[in-house]
């Protein structure tokens, strides 16, 4: 007897425990296999680019860090560096080292949050409890340095806003020792778990030949064996003086991207140890710039980029000679991954793999729609 099967449309929607953030995917299902997918964003749209046009730079810098919620520091660094490029300001060595330290700590905390999300999507609940505890210890250090756990507002055009507290570098060293002792535990329970390997190998395979041309960035490229990283190719701050490697893995699937991130945690710890050793003890943390109501931004435009935990994060900024910014456009790594890549990857996959693939690509909705 032939069964008449037709396509059913469901919303893998905004209220769902299996999505990373507040977005929805419209799926066409045939049984349990997906035949078509369409992404919907816009649930978090606040109109940042219009808000910034009405504000001077010190008013804009307080809201710029809220564009990307899990990792706010690349936004502040991009904003500060774009204004320094336009106005021709040079910052001191000590400020560069402090900014590098803050960016690497933010990358570590974002990778810990990823581990909790990726393991939760398969059903391994223990790792979420451990990794979010370890991330909280990093947030305690942030609170001591900048005053806030999640949103720091610390990096300003011209340098950073406050000095390092006494004994801060010693406490950071102790925290890195603690994290290094915990890493074999995560290996045992998560990365070498046969359940995870059976779920992850062969799922979400990216086409390697189109990857460079289509504009994919971050771990999607490094999981295909292509070694690209903004810190190595287009260096900024003090990354030319530091010694670190770019991990790659062949395989193009969810397992390869997880292995790349596992190695990046170790590389971040290595970079932080070098920064602690090489931190200069004297130097001004902030250059002298005019007051914000008299600081005229020249009529010019520029493009800056940093490497966040998910890929290349870029800002385009244009000034017009007054104290307000004419245009600031944000381009996060999830814009291309969330639309061009995700809608093609999900075809012919099972419904239960949607959360796994979304976590593996690292899709963060606030940076898609600002």
């Amino acid at each position: 007897m032939q069964k008449n099967r037709e396509l059913i449309k469901i919303f893998h929607g905004p209220q769902h425990p299996g999505i990373t953030g507040n977005m929805s995917i419209e799926l066409d299902l045939l049984g349990e296999t997906i035949k078509g997918a369409k992404t919907h964003v816009g649930y978090l749209h606040r109109g940042f680019e219009k808000l910034v046009e009405r504000r001077t730079i010190i008013q804009a810098f307080t809201i710029v860090c809220r564009i990307c919620v899990p990792e706010p520091d690349p936004n502040e660094e991009n904003f500060a560096r774009a204004i320094e490029n336009l106005a021709g300001i040079e910052i001191s060595e000590k400020a560069k080292y402090i900014r590098t330290m803050v960016l690497e700590m933010a990358r570590l905390s974002s990778l810990m949050l990823w581990m909790g999300g990726q393991s939760g999507s398969i059903g391994l609940g223990t790792i979420g409890q451990w990794s979010i505890y370890d991330r909280d210890l990093i947030l305690d250090l942030f609170e001591e340095l900048t005053g806030g756990r999640v949103y720091h507002m610390y990096i300003y055009p011209g340098g950073v806003r406050r000095e390092l507290p006494d004994g801060f570098l010693g406490r950071l060293s102790q925290l890195l020792d603690h994290l290094e002792k915990r890493l074999p535990l995560y290996d045992n329970v998560f990365f070498e778990n046969s359940t995870f390997k059976k779920r992850a190998i062969g799922v979400g395979v990216v086409n390697r030949d189109e990857a460079l041309r289509n504009g994919y960035v971050g771990q999607v490229l490094r999981g295909c064996g292509i070694k690209r990283d903004v810190r190595r190719d287009n260096p900024y701050l003090v990354y030319e003086k530091l010694d670190f490697e770019i991990p790659t893995f062949d395989g193009c699937d969810v397992y390869a991207r997880a292995m790349v991130r596992r190695q990046e945690i170790r590389e971040s710890i290595k970079i932080l140890r070098q920064v602690i050793e090489q931190m200069p003890t004297e130097g001004a943390i902030m250059q002298k710039i005019p007051k914000h109501r008299k600081f005229k931004i020249p009529k010019d435009d520029t493009f800056v980029a940093v490497e966040s935990a998910r890929g290349e994060y870029g800002f385009y900024m244009a000034g017009d000679g007054t104290e307000q910014i004419r245009r600031m456009q944000v381009k996060g790594p999830s814009l291309i991954h969330g639309f061009t890549l995700l809608e093609n990857l999900l075809v012919d996959e099972e419904l239960s793999n949607v959360a796994l693939i979304m976590n593996s690509l690292g899709i963060c909705p606030p940076e898609i729609e600002r």
Binding site: V41, G42, H45, G47, E49, K50, L51, R54, N85, L212, R213, N214, G215, R228, V230, D233, N234, D301, T302, F303, A305, E312, G314, Y316, A318, D320, R326, R327, Q329, K331, L335, I336, F339, T340, E369
Partner: protein, 176 residues
């Protein structure tokens, strides 16, 4: 690779790894096709748009990067603000589809050949495209939404500080 481009276009250098060329809007498709095939700048990274209302133009910047991702090239064109139309780059770069949809919703630019220009981030929007300079957000917010009562006696911060300092000075002089 820069030498190939220098023969055909005038390149402005904005820093160590950032270059810029200016072209007319009719040559757009031809130029980008030529650059992406003959030189190393093979990926489209971003399409950004700025609104210069005093000159009545939109300035579009197509930002391309190399295969090794170490240099960026900005290709700039100007289009008029009323009835802005441009050909689409969908056939050369598939990621241009989403970026053009975003610009269409925010500025009202029409990309000829792109059939997916529906809503990106807004729903049931009936006013003019919001990122144009003539759209006044403060007026729109005051008409649509109500704020909570309690800030009616809001004072200007600078005037208040001046008044308090003058008051303290006067008291100090009176004590002497």
């Amino acid at each position: 690779m820069i030498k190939i481009l220098k023969k055909h276009y005038e390149i402005e250098e904005k820093g160590e790894r950032l270059f810029k060329i200016y072209i007319k809007k009719e040559d757009l498709l031809k130029t980008i096709d030529f650059i992406s095939l003959s030189s190393n700048f093979m990926t489209l990274s971003q399409i950004s748009c700025a609104d210069w209302i005093e000159d009545e133009i939109f300035t579009l910047n197509y930002i391309l990067t190399t295969e090794k991702r170490d240099k960026n090239l900005m290709v700039e064109t100007n289009i008029p603000r009323i009835e802005s139309k441009l050909p689409t780059l969908l056939n050369i770069f598939p990621q241009a589809e989403v970026m053009e949809r975003d610009l269409h919703e925010m500025y009202g630019i029409d990309f000829i050949g792109n059939h997916t220009l529906y809503d990106f981030a807004l729903e049931d929007w009936k006013e003019i495209p919001p990122l144009r300079r003539e759209f006044d957000t403060l007026k729109y917010v005051n008409e649509q939404f109500d704020f909570r009562a309690g800030r009616e006696d809001n004072k200007d911060v600078k005037a208040e500080i001046k008044r308090r300092r003058a008051e303290a000075k006067r008291l100090k002089n009176a004590k002497k």
